[in-house]
Symmetry: none
Subunit: 200 residues, 4 copies
């Protein structure tokens, strides 16, 4: 009984993972408008099974987003005590951009901005970024007038820039991350016209 229960559970867990992976692929290909049926088909399960694992399509997206954000909090924690705070911040931003299909993450994040779990983890990521930025600023690696919230907001920009191209080189974001990061350095910084925002 426990054996079969466990088997079921592991089956269910496998299905959940298949669904998340399938969703990521399908959203990457077709955008958020991709249908639940598409995702179920890709995962090799029936449509109804999607709703056994996720309360709604929104919930599925939120779970997807959370998974991505958790890897970011992990990275932020790991890099918080790094020797070179400037390099640590740059590495964090590189990791953030380097998540496959992050392309969608932007859309999906917007889509699930009201989800409680997403908000929570997003705040944790934000806190992690705040720490990395504080460290980097203290070390003189980035300009003093830039806040953690600024960097948090700029995080997705390098990937988003690629949306202007229909078939971009997959690593092109590295170029724009470099440019933007140069804008965060103290060298050649000009006065900023507006105060930094608070993360609502």
């Amino acid at each position: 009984m426990t054996a079969s229960a466990r088997a079921l559970r592991s089956d269910a867990a496998r299905n959940r993972e298949s669904l998340l992976a399938a969703a990521e692929e399908v959203f990457a290909e077709r955008g958020v408008e991709a249908s639940v049926a598409d995702i179920a088909r890709r995962a090799g399960v029936a449509k109804g099974t999607v709703f056994r694992h996720f309360a709604s399509k929104e919930d599925l997206i939120a779970s997807l987003v959370c998974d991505h954000l958790i890897t970011l909090t992990d990275a932020a924690h790991r890099l918080a005590d790094a020797g070179d705070p400037g390099a640590a911040l740059l590495e964090f931003l590189t990791i953030a951009a380097d998540q496959r299909r992050q392309h969608d993450l932007t859309y999906l994040l917007t889509y699930s901005a009201n989800d409680a779990r997403v908000t929570t983890i997003r705040d944790e990521v934000h806190a992690g970024v705040e720490t990395l930025v504080a460290n980097a600023r203290a070390a003189g690696a980035i300009r003093p007038d830039v806040t953690g919230t600024d960097v948090f907001l700029l995080m997705c920009a390098p990937v988003h820039v690629m949306d202007g191209l229909s078939d971009p080189p997959p690593d092109l974001w590295r170029r724009y991350l470099a440019i933007i990061f140069d804008g965060l350095r103290p060298q050649g910084a000009t006065a900023l016209p507006l105060p930094a925002p608070e993360l609502s």
Copy 2:
């Protein structure tokens, strides 16, 4: 006769403008998936009227995008002979970001990337940016390894950054434009890891 013909036309023209304005607002609020019915309601006309003015939802979006892009080609032409090429480029990027509700332009541009009119005007904007960038580079106002295509792609980033905030100060993009523009300056520039892309 011409008077009455003009009267009709001016009424129709007013409707057309209402529709474009309404579409801009509604797309800004709900994204591209906003329905034609929403747009009609906001414009205060019947659903069918939308299709009298625009062959399809796609066509409406393309028209919207074209309107925006045309103001950009105008600005680029006007600024091409400015005395201070660096200031001219910055002003152009300011104008580009300062278009009300540009927020959407990015999504909408992606959505209508295959429209012939949009492609044409987009290429003109690109050419204009190329000129402004060449001038600025020649004047030493921006780093030599940055191309017109780079700037064209980065153009929307300051506004897009605000997507991370649910209720941002409306001028916040100025802050991020300043940061990104600092990244384009020669001071403190680091080597870029990838070559600049071609605009497909």
Copy 3:
């Protein structure tokens, strides 16, 4: 004043005729589902003008059908006193089938079966056919058990048969009229299984 009034009237009459002609063409090409806009365009007038001349699309169709039916009553009257009643009936059926685009007449007749004018003229045609059939029967040209209503109903069959072909020779109906008419002849006639219907 009378001059201009007359001019207007003749203009209006011309428009009416253009519209009927255009409608016939367009219905022939696209079927009854052809739009009023199509018809107006073909006639070179505005959509609103259609509704000045015809109360509704149904009314336009009914007018079209009436025009066709009137040529049939004319033919029936003309042939009522012909020397050879059998030949007269055959000629009438030939005329009935030979109306260009009669193909649609069938559909259109069904479509406007409830229109008062159509019903009236249809009854006149029926009466005319009744006479021609009575004459032919009296002359022994057609079998005695066939009524005017039978022939009236069979009238459209030769043209309708061609619907089974996507690109039929335009005169093919002549072949099927000949076959059906042979079925009306006394030679080789077998007993009919049901009594003739009344025209409702």
Copy 4:
């Protein structure tokens, strides 16, 4: 498991049949322009269910037509070896006309003439008729100048003739089948004015 699967399938199958039956009725009453909503209502299911069973309205119509045509190929095969070829042909035509609501088949066949399935089965029916006609001709039961294609095209005429009546006796087609079949007999045949067509 197979039992429940079968149960589901039988429910679904019932719905499919309800839909086909409802479609047949509704098309008979209102013509091809009858809406999918009407059909769903008649079948007692939701609109969406129609599209679960049929990819499109066109597909539904094609399925309907195919169902009808299949009973005809069956009949043709069964009758191909009959002792009396003339009687066999007449029986085939009787079966063809006796399909409930065949009334529509003509319209619907035209509507779905481009559907691959329909084309295939229609060709099989044609081939079957060709055989029956060849047999009947060899036996001297029908005139030598009439082809299988002729009979194939005339097949629907008896039913179609009834369109001229708003409330015809349901068996009235038998009367017109008899008349038309008399036209196919060798007795009293007159020379046909045009060659027989090829089925495109």
